[in-house]
Symmetry: D2
Subunit: 142 residues, 4 copies
């Protein structure tokens, strides 16, 4: 049993704009999906993965993360001008598969929670093993 | 055991435009969420529920459907210009809660599959029992 | 002076969904931009141009239309569930440049009007003369 | 002739995410429209206008800014991961009307330029004179 404290999740702030809301007066439920994706992108950036560099499918180095499955629980509405945060941590790690736990918060409120499974794919669109250095960084977030 | 045939799911066509794609060359994963919502809206319209009329929160008749939970499996990529279809059927029905099974297809291909739980809420944002006539229409789709 | 009647503009229907609205209770002003783009895409499709086929930048046949300038006047608000139409006609035609006049209508109401200049570009991103057969189809819409 | 230096425009940073791009590999042209709106929202916030507070249409204090006209020139493509900035300054000021000049930049590059006319409206949707203190703040940005 590890006595090490759980690592802090990666956190990224999100401001709610008009574009994110709908005529019900709250944040539209597909906007949360965009917010979670920004959190994953910023996590990757913090790990040194610049997706604009790895999107090139003709390169040996091509590496993209494709969403395979997503579960989202919507717990509280969010509103125009809210300052939210996306917290991302690693729940499970396979050869080419990473399952992330993501929480969208507003201060103490939990707005939504997501479990998102992404798969690393290469230039041909097929699953690709995570490079060891990247895997090590995901392990550190578990 | 019922010998009645399963009812046909409600079906709504979706054309993929530039707005739905991303720099990976495929449909962005939050676009599927918008597509599924269009399918639910068209299902409600076919049932006689016009949400623009029921959104008014000062009315006795206010009735909105809020998404509480969503599970999506992304099975195949979709592309610019694809003509897709959203099929929607009822998986489970509670007092104010409806769980829908939705499939996004391209011909024979299953592009994505979703289980979406929505809750009927009134003008105060609290859960509201489904009106009997509406409930009957959901039952017919089970 | 030509006695020929003006050609009918190309028309494409647009249904307003939750995704298109904002917390002001009306259609968000960037949604009109997406609607106009759908109208242009459907115009091209009606002319036989399938952009999913011409997006491939490695092909000799690569042909994309890039928006260079857009003027939009917002005249009346549009609302959830509205059934709108995008009308598109050709205002001006250059070697590689097409200026389109687009109207977003709801029955007799003019919701918004746009003048959009697009430029045909090839696989290298540089302007490319319109192929003669495509030019002829644009001329017919003037 | 004024010898006062031109005021610095209000500046707001924008990171480009997957959601902002399209299958052409660049930022989708309606995304710029969302970026410019974020710049205007942040300008208003810096002026002390919190739109989530002023959206309430039943209040005497209701004040919204509606887009009436927009001209955008698209000058250079933007790409995934780009760090852009929106600069906003006041070009013209009427009783209830404000015309803003907005520039979307990437370092030294001018990506797009917009002239956007917004109109202050009250709870009834009709134009409303700008309150004197807000007008004074817009004047300071001219």
């Amino acid at each position: 049993m590890s006595e090490a404290p759980a690592p802090s999740p990666h956190t990224h702030p999100i401001r709610v704009y008009w574009e994110d809301t709908d005529a019900g007066g709250i944040v539209y439920h597909a906007s949360h999906v965009r917010f979670f994706e920004r959190g994953r992108t910023e996590l990757l950036r913090a790990m040194g993965v610049h997706q604009s560099a790895t999107v090139d499918r003709s390169e040996e180095t091509a590496l993209l993360f494709t969403v395979r499955r997503m579960e989202i629980d919507y717990l509280k509405p969010a509103f125009l001008d809210d300052l939210l945060a996306v917290e991302t941590s690693v729940q499970d790690l396979g050869g080419s598969r990473v399952t992330l736990l993501q929480r969208l918060t507003r201060g103490e409120d939990l707005v939504a929670e997501a479990v998102v499974t992404v798969v690393a794919v290469g230039g041909n669109g097929r699953p690709k093993r995570l490079p060891p250095d990247l895997r090590a960084r995901f392990v550190a977030l578990q």
